[in-house]
């Protein structure tokens, strides 16, 4: 991403944020109740939240998201690789993937909590359950779509299997995997929010629901804004990784 494009993007985002705040401001004026404080009050209240360990809540949430995503990436990529390069394994694993894909994974939360306890692991496992199958499919489909010619040209000059993987298979699947991560980011944060209501006193999900129970609405709205900003930041990070790693897709 070059500098001027980056600046333009940031400006557009700031403008969008101002616009949404404006709508919110108008709505707050019309409703005029404590349950919908106006945005200025919420923004001004934000700094004081840090005295209530907001930073620690953020760190907990980020830790869960990153662990979940990294585990999903690595395991999903490996399984996708096996399925994409071996017809036999694809035949065995594909029905399992097909059958389990539509199951609402959130419904499995009680089982996961019973099996893995109320701690960190069950929260991370929930994220993995949702993101990993998508990474598996993205990787497998990308590998299947590679034209045989691309391997043949390199094999004819003596490329080893490792070289074929390094120069063809891996870069070919990377793009699909990154766009999958982007798509699944929204779901990941929703799951995070949900799981953080159980068995923890840290994390943005806990912070928001706790503020709600204590009827501290400015803190609740502030928490929602912070969680949204985390989402935006992660989105940005994925975008950056994509534009850096996929320079070859640009037509100049």
């Amino acid at each position: 991403m070059n500098k001027s494009i980056f600046l333009r993007k940031v400006t557009a985002l700031v403008l969008a944020m101002v616009f949404i705040s404006l709508l919110w401001y108008l709505a707050a004026g019309i409703v005029d109740k404590k349950i919908l404080p106006d945005p200025v009050a919420v923004y001004l209240y934000l700094p004081s939240l840090f005295q209530r360990q907001l930073a620690l809540h953020i760190v907990y949430s980020l830790f869960r998201v990153f662990s979940g995503m990294i585990i999903s990436l690595i395991s999903g990529f490996l399984i996708g690789l096996i399925m994409g390069s071996s017809v036999r394994w694809d035949k065995i694993l594909d029905p399992i993937l097909y059958l389990t894909y539509p199951i609402p994974k959130l419904a499995l939360l009680p089982i996961v909590m019973l099996l893995f306890g109320l701690g960190e692991s069950s929260k991370i496992i929930m994220i993995v359950l949702i993101v990993m199958p998508q990474v598996v499919m993205a990787t497998r489909d990308a590998i299947r779509d590679i034209p045989a010619r691309q391997y043949e040209v390199l094999r004819a000059i003596g490329a080893t299997r490792i070289q074929l993987f390094k120069y063809v298979t891996f870069p070919a699947s990377l793009y699909n995997v990154i766009s999958t991560l982007r798509i699944s980011l929204g779901t990941t944060l929703s799951v995070l929010f949900f799981t953080e209501n159980y068995g923890t006193e840290f994390g943005m999900g806990y912070f928001i629901m706790d503020s709600w129970l204590r009827m501290d609405y400015r803190a609740m709205y502030g928490g929602i804004i912070v969680l949204s900003l985390i989402g935006v930041a992660l989105f940005f990070l994925i975008d950056f990784a994509e534009s850096y790693g996929m320079r070859w897709r640009k037509r100049v």
Binding site: E152, R155, A156, I157, G158, Y167, W248, K250, R251, V252
Partner: protein, 260 residues
């Protein structure tokens, strides 16, 4: 058939290949490629031109038969074979220069490129008029540039054999002629046994020292005939202007039976 003679580059003995028991594409085929030259291959579709190249590239398994390369049994896995496919065979994530270097590194089985090799990459890119584009990715190149890169990649490794499957057929007429000339020029600097499949009879005459005619027979197996290009001693331009050029085109067209 003659016994192996000592100057033969490549010879194919008793090649048989079929896709089902009743259908034999090649039936006890014998062919010999005596010289380090360009052999263009034309013929009716379904006569096995691409399959033939695939046998040499080791992509297609043979049912029976032996291939000899310079009097030794030819094992595609042990030789450096440059493939130039119609769809360029480029990897979109490698720049022009990187694609060349990776090709060299793979074929030499060495992780680093020597100074000499870097010079070679530069020279070939200059020769094929790609040096200014060395930092570009394939989707920033035109069709002609992509095909030139495909050629440069094939030549840079000093291949023992060049297999080209309708490499220029996706290009427009002007670009094609330019690439054809560049190919001939590059080839004369780096001569190598080249097998060049084309559906364009003019191209077969313009580029080939010898022309292989593949014709499908009624029993589905194909017959292969090698003829010497009567215009082989003329330059590209002279061939085009030669009074016999169109006569030969017509003659070849009749022989592969595509003028009915």
């Amino acid at each position: 058939m003659s016994i192996l003679n000592n100057t033969e580059e490549l010879s194919i003995k008793d090649l048989s290949l079929g896709f089902s028991p009743g259908l034999r594409l090649f039936d006890h085929l014998n062919l010999s490629f005596p010289k380090q030259a360009i052999y263009t291959i034309i013929g009716t579709s379904g006569a096995g031109k691409t399959t033939f190249l695939n046998c040499l590239a080791g992509i297609q398994e043979m049912e029976q038969g032996t291939i000899y390369y310079r009097q030794k049994i030819f094992d595609p896995g042990q030789h450096k074979i440059g493939i130039v496919p119609q769809e360029y065979g480029l990897l979109p994530w490698h720049t022009v220069e990187r694609a060349m270097c990776i090709h060299l590194r793979i074929s030499q089985k060495e992780p680093r490129l020597s100074f000499l090799n870097r010079q070679k990459v530069k020279l070939l890119l200059e020769e094929l008029q790609l040096y200014e584009k060395r930092k570009a990715y394939p989707n920033q190149l035109s069709g002609g540039q992509k095909q030139r890169l495909s050629l440069a990649k094939a030549f840079v490794i000093d291949p023992e054999m060049l297999l080209m499957d309708e490499p220029f057929s996706a290009l427009d007429a002007f670009t094609r002629e330019k690439v054809q000339r560049l190919f001939l020029k590059t080839w004369s600097d780096h001569p190598v046994l080249s097998l060049f499949v084309t559906h364009d009879i003019e191209e077969a005459l313009l580029l080939g020292d010898h022309i292989l005619l593949f014709t499908a027979q009624e029993n589905f197996s194909s017959s292969i005939e090698m003829i010497e290009n009567p215009l082989r001693n003329f330059s590209f331009t002279d061939k085009k202007l030669h009074p016999d050029f169109w006569k030969e085109v017509k003659n070849l067209r009749r022989r592969i039976g595509s003028d009915e």
